[in-house]
Subunit: 274 residues, 2 copies
Amino acid sequence: MTVGFQGEAGAFSEAAALELFGAVGTRGFTTFDELVAAVDAGAVDAGLIPCENTIYGSIARTYDLLAEHRDVRIVGETTYAIVQALIGCPGADVDALESVASHPVALEQCRAFLAAHPGLRVRTVADTAGAVREMMEAGDPRAAAIGPAPAAARYGASVLIANVQDDVENVTRFFAIVGPSTTGLRPYARDDKEGARDDRACVVLDLAHEVGSLQAALGALAARGLNLRSLVARPARGRAFHYRFYVEFDGADRATLSALERHFGGRMQLLGRY
Amino acid sequence: MTVGFQGEAGAFSEAAALELFGAVGTRGFTTFDELVAAVDAGAVDAGLIPCENTIYGSIARTYDLLAEHRDVRIVGETTYAIVQALIGCPGADVDALESVASHPVALEQCRAFLAAHPGLRVRTVADTAGAVREMMEAGDPRAAAIGPAPAAARYGASVLIANVQDDVENVTRFFAIVGPSTTGLRPYARDDKEGARDDRACVVLDLAHEVGSLQAALGALAARGLNLRSLVARPARGRAFHYRFYVEFDGADRATLSALERHFGGRMQLLGRY
């Protein structure tokens, strides 16, 4: 079995995939678009795609892609704590470092560390795991990378400092997704233990652009005792004054979903139960 | 008058600020956090901060910062179409280029161009405008940058190809914000001409984690004839099962806002009218 993720080998997404799926093969894709297309086409058996981060909020592009690819379904979810590590070549000495490379977002998450080490020349690269790979290829013990500890293991590098990121909660939530050719896969790692498996659902609602229409739609959920988990609003492309709402809720048994499908008709699309 | 933005001189955000505010001084900040803190402290007279992009969705971090800085108010908004240009040193020849530098997100927006020019070595940097600045500092006509055309003007570089980004709508919406020491500033560039000035409002609602509570809140807006413009849901930090909703709506005259403040009490915070 092969699970796709976005990024290079050693990325946080790959580590999250291995934690959720166990010992499986993995395959990195450059973009979210390529990842979801590969899952849809069956080029990989499943994929793991981020949908929300505690600092940056919901990742609207992920929801848009899942709505576009109508045969791709969410079958599970997991969360992964992002911890940026300082990684060097084996034998490297923190005090002898001259430069550090990482993705701009990761560098921004390590501002206190970088401020405390003003002598380090900062270099930006396209991928945190790629920063570790490139560092090992160059083999210069004065050059370090900031990125995932699993990337150090992957490329034979050393974790010099386990956590160099600023003191903030940095947790990413991922959807496990499959295409039409994969059946029976139910990875499960919901972090709150209160809900039952397959109790959560994510749907797309295409609604007219009015407070009242969303209110009525949420009323249809509330009337069935469903609990809101997340809500992402997106202007519908090419349809002025229409909004697309991605709604996740708990309490979604099969009978309730059928009732919702009757209620919303063509305005609702189910993205998955998990 | 000085307007703050996030990024280096020549950034898309700076161009949007100059378009909205006219001939003003500008000052770039490294992060959104620093920008909002400077606006709050009166270090700049106003700021322009992105809140939404057509590809990436709402920028939750912006809303969180505006809620944290209770004295910072939204006083206007504008939209700016992001167009990535290929920029070179004066006299550079597209066919003689050997490398191109930009921010990873900008590079991802130009995948068709890069695929069509496989001979170009791609280098990532932390800022699109910074890519142009660094290119001019190095002065190598074989090295190009991808970034904002205004950055070419700013640094004396040449726009080699005006638009090298993939064919997608890439528009960013910005909030104009001021701190407590700035009064009377009402920049106005709403793109749809239907609404009246100061008719739009953005509020934070702190609600219990239930479909029903958001439904009831939206009902309070709908009952007053208010039209939803955007909705951003965020888990409330440190308060399990509470959500924070950022709601923008039209039709918000002063009397209606007072009525909403009576209705929601301490659960509502006004981020601005514009």
